[in-house]
């Protein structure tokens, strides 16, 4: 064992020994002083510590808030419209529960201090009082109705159907990474089947190339490109185990379940560039974090979201080569041109597979 370990163990052992000796000694002192006297003394000390704990605790809460609030997402605007609703729900809940928290905690420790044992006091025989009990059944019930009301109002807005014009994107999780697919110009995804997955042939999604709709599909692992101000509908899949598309800045999250497609939609509000200005952080990126335990690489399952303007998006998409053409380079019109110069007049053969 290393010396530090031995040192630590020695300190620990010494600490125990000292505590134990003190504990033992105080027990003997207690016996000498008389049980009653030592009880009264320790009772006073502990009662006093109860208020000390309350006061230091309240200060601690404030201090903790000062230190860490600025490191959360809440000081910055939400990157999505849904996130704004979630943020306002958060503040409503913090307000209501906060009031309850401070009232009950203060009462608890204050009562503990105030009603500490004293020979002069007799405890009150007070077994029940229906009015009080009705009061603290109805008040929480009303508060909860408010919370449920707001909560469900937002919940239905967030989980409602995506608008027709929404951008379509498909996100597929696998151990341990994300694959994104755009349906291309026809706005329809080509069919896929998991038994068709063929990593060595550039087909990590198992797309059926004989489905014509697949020919313009863009598959990438680089980043998830989204457009500012345009709603996006994300269709979520998993290839192996359950993952979760976690988008902390957008306050959104949805599981990726093998065999069961899921969806989420929202509207990005700020481009990555804008968010860099808002947060004052030039390296800012929207990240996708896997939020469902998916194996030993779970913690490394990182993706990046780039929110761009409409024109930037069009440019980006134009630069992407359809996956079909990467799999069948000979059917790529840009390659064809080179062929055309030698063999004039021969039109590229229609993809065989397309005839189903």
């Amino acid at each position: 064992m290393s010396t530090t370990a031995i040192l630590l163990l020695a300190i620990l052992g010494l600490g125990f020994l000292i505590t134990f000796q003190i504990a033992k000694a105080s027990e003997y002192v207690g016996v000498l002083k008389g049980e009653k006297k030592s009880f009264e003394q320790s009772n006073r000390v502990n009662a006093f510590l109860m208020v000390v704990f309350l006061v230091l605790g309240l200060i601690g809460i404030y201090w903790c808030h000062e230190l860490f609030y600025k490191k959360t997402l809440l000081p910055f605007p939400s990157a999505s419209d849904h996130g704004e609703k979630i943020d306002s729900m958060m503040f409503i809940t913090i307000a209501i529960t906060g009031v309850v928290f401070f009232i009950t905690q203060i009462l608890l420790f204050w009562f503990a201090y105030k009603y500490q044992h004293s020979d002069k006091r007799k405890a009150l025989f007070y077994p029940h009082n229906t009015n009080w009990e009705i009061l603290w059944t109805t008040v929480p019930a009303i508060a909860l109705c408010v919370l449920v009301g707001f909560g469900l109002y937002y919940w239905y807005q967030i989980t409602g159907n995506a608008p027709e014009k929404a951008l379509q994107v498909e996100v597929t999780g696998k151990q341990f990474g994300w694959i994104y697919r755009y349906p291309g110009k026809d706005n329809v995804y080509g069919k896929k089947y998991y038994k068709n997955i063929d990593e060595s042939n550039n087909n990590e999604l198992g797309i059926l190339w004989d489905d014509q709709y697949s020919h313009d599909d863009i598959v990438t692992t680089e980043a998830l490109y989204l457009v500012k101000g345009q709603p996006v509908k994300i269709n979520i899949f998993s290839r192996d185990v359950i993952h979760d598309v976690g988008l902390p800045h957008f306050r959104m999250k949805m599981d990726a379940v093998p065999g069961t497609p899921t969806t989420m939609w929202f509207t990005p509000q700020y481009t990555t560039e804008e968010m860099r200005k808002i947060t004052g952080n030039n390296n800012f990126e929207y990240e996708i974090a896997c939020d469902q335990m998916c194996g030993n690489g779970h913690y490394s399952m990182r993706g990046v979201v780039k929110v761009v303007t409409q024109s930037e998006f069009i440019l980006w998409r134009a630069r992407q080569k359809a996956r079909y053409l990467m799999v069948f380079p000979d059917r790529d019109p840009t390659n064809q041109k080179a062929v055309d110069t030698t063999k004039t007049g021969t039109a590229p053969p229609p993809p065989v597979a397309a005839k189903r």
């Binding site: 504990a23 027990e27 605790g57 601690g60 025989f125 077994p127 009080w132 603290w136 902390p248 194996g295």
Partner: protein
């Protein structure tokens, strides 16, 4: 173990008690084996559960210290770890495999083996016969079996730590397909088979215990002990047993289907999976089905943990505030409401699995309803100490701490139960903070309250008070220091179950905090070791109990001899004439349940 501590006659026992001990009811020759190993005495079984639970608590706690070391100091290596863990900590760094194995085992062990087996097993066994006035459980034999199933389950779970491919490492909830496929994770190979086997035996143990508790409470109450005269501990343990009996079988069925998927080629949970460079043949299953089965137990399970703690706290608080528990019937009613609702909210763990939004909204409503009985309990506890005459015994302090923690953690449940907010908070550190405060730490506080309060009854001696007070204050302060700031990490979206956050732009701002949390966790753990020391030291060397009823309590267990033999009461079982909470009534400190009501007594 010293014979004297558990059965013999401490010098101080007053004469008439000492005599009876000799000819108690089940008098027969006891050997070491029948007395300490295959004992059928509920008090001994309780102590067996307690000590096994404590062993697991040390193991589970040590695991958390190890993985906190990784979380707090991700860029450092600790050569001594390699000495302890071998290949699990190559070059003194916890590997991903071992990190996930540790996290998973930590959760499994603490939720099931400590806070279910250790907590219910100890206090249901110990208190039910003593507090309702019975000589033992309805079936002492099944009761013994319940412990031994727990023991075998423990051995198997422990052995899984040593298999070549490691113990199960997919999280204590064991969601398939990760838990179903060996290709998905090395821990899902043999480790998972051992995990399932162990858990299945654990379920058997819980069922044997639970049925016994229910049968005993319903049938074996002494004369005069009507249901509404029972101490709240018994009510709580009763509802706990009902929850367990109704929900554990569902978990078992979920595990059996999982076992089929693993070994029999079925597709209950598997569909369209490509893993390990091959497509699996399984199609048509639903991975979400498992989550429904799991959480149908999983949610009641959290109440299986907290209800006994609530019962203990109610009892200990009333005794030491020298006041009746406020609103006894409301306390029973809220336990009942919680028990019913516990079955109707499970899907709040699944808001973002793609479930139908309407279904989700039903679960939001039902989930938030639980906050109402919870609020009633909190306010009733507050009123119980109001105008009391509080003795800060260690048990009382842990009870007060419990209420504080239950408030803090219960309120964050209201965030999570609101599905809209859960979209942002699910599987972040906010959830970790929530359930550690409301279940983990609060559950332990209930257990500590119970141990400090009933230790004199269990072992005829007191625990050392000074160590107890240090234990309390360090644990309370430490727990808040550890878990309170985690809410902020959750509000930053920081996901749970990550080995390392340094490569994440969004989550790496908490490195200082993570170090701080890890350091506090180690201190708190060290103080728990001190408690363990206090516990075993005091069994043999603690201050002796010199009176039958050291806390001045009105319940039946304190009418037994200081060290009660098998059968509990040397003579007749006492008859009960009143409820359990006549404290400070008519100017008297307390009135034992065995005391007849006098005609001029004020009814309450």
């Amino acid at each position: 173990m010293s014979n004297e501590a558990t059965h013999g006659h401490p010098e101080v026992v007053t004469t008439h008690e000492a005599h009876h001990d000799e000819h108690h009811v089940h008098h027969h020759k006891e050997t070491f084996i029948t007395k300490y190993v295959f004992s059928q005495d509920h008090k001994m079984i309780a102590r067996q559960f307690l000590i096994t639970g404590m062993a697991w608590a040390i193991i589970g706690g040590l695991m958390s210290v190890l993985f906190r070391l990784q979380l707090g100091y991700p860029d450092q290596s600790f050569p001594f770890l390699e000495d302890i863990l071998g290949r699990w900590a190559k070059d003194g760094k916890i590997t991903a495999e071992s990190y996930y194995a540790l996290v998973t085992m930590h959760g499994t062990v603490l939720v099931f083996f400590v806070l279910t087996g250790g907590l219910s097993g100890t206090f249901a066994n110990f208190l039910i016969p003593l507090q309702i006035g019975a000589r033992d459980m309805a079936s002492p034999f099944l009761n013994m079996l319940s412990y031994w199933f727990f023991f075998i389950a423990s051995v198997i779970m422990f052995s899984s730590l040593f298999v070549q491919t490691g113990p199960f490492s997919g999280g204590w909830t064991a969601y398939p397909p990760l838990s179903a496929l060996g290709e998905a994770s090395p821990g899902s190979k043999v480790g998972m088979d051992l995990w399932i086997t162990s858990m299945a035996l654990f379920v058997v143990s819980s069922l044997l215990g639970g049925l016994n508790y229910i049968a005993t409470i319903l049938n074996m109450r002494t004369k005069g002990m009507s249901m509404t005269r029972m101490p709240l501990t018994i009510w709580a343990l009763f509802f706990t047993a009902v929850l367990g009996v109704l929900s554990f079988p569902v978990l078992l069925s979920g595990f059996i289907l999982l076992l089929f998927d693993r070994h029999a080629g079925t597709s209950f949970y598997l569909d369209s999976i490509y893993i390990g460079s091959a497509a699996l043949p399984n199609e048509g299953g639903s991975a979400i089905l498992y989550q429904h089965l799991f959480w149908f137990l999983g949610h009641p399970e959290v109440y299986i943990i907290i209800l006994p703690a609530m019962g203990i706290v109610s009892e200990v608080m009333s005794v030491n505030a020298r006041k009746p528990i406020f609103g006894y019937m409301a306390m029973v009613g809220s336990l009942f409401a919680i028990a019913i609702l516990a079955f109707l909210v499970w899907a709040h763990h699944m808001f973002v699995t793609g479930m139908n939004p309407f279904l989700g909204s039903v679960f939001v409503l039902l989930t938030l309803l639980i906050a109402i009985p919870s609020a009633i309990k909190v306010f009733n506890w507050l009123t119980t100490i109001w105008r009391g005459n509080i003795r800060f015994t260690p048990g009382m302090m842990f009870s007060l701490g419990f209420v504080s923690l239950f408030i803090s953690g219960g309120l964050t449940g209201i965030f999570l139960g609101n599905s809209a907010l859960d979209i942002a908070l699910h599987d972040t550190y906010f959830v970790i903070a929530h359930f550690h405060i409301v279940m983990g730490v609060a559950g332990f506080f209930g257990m500590f309250a119970g141990i400090y309060h009933w230790f004199p009854k269990m072992f005829g001696r007191f625990l050392n008070n000074t160590m107890a007070y240090i234990h309390f204050w360090v644990t309370l302060i430490g727990s808040y220091l550890i878990f309170w700031p985690m809410h902020y990490e959750g509000l930053a979206g920081m996901p749970r179950r990550y080995l390392d956050y340094t490569n994440w732009l969004s989550f790496n701002q908490f490195d200082g905090l993570n170090k701080f949390i890890s350091t506090v966790a180690m201190v708190v753990f060290a103080v728990q070791l001190m408690f363990i020391f206090n516990f075993f030291y005091s069994i043999f060397k603690g201050r002796r109990v010199t009176v039958k009823n050291p806390w001045g309590s009105s319940t039946l267990e304190w009418t037994t001899p200081i060290v009660a033999g098998h059968g509990n009461w040397p003579g007749e079982i006492p008859e009960v004439h009143r409820w359990a909470y006549d404290y400070s009534k008519d100017g008297r400190e307390y009135i034992s349940q065995t005391e007849p009501v006098t005609p001029d007594e004020k009814p309450h």
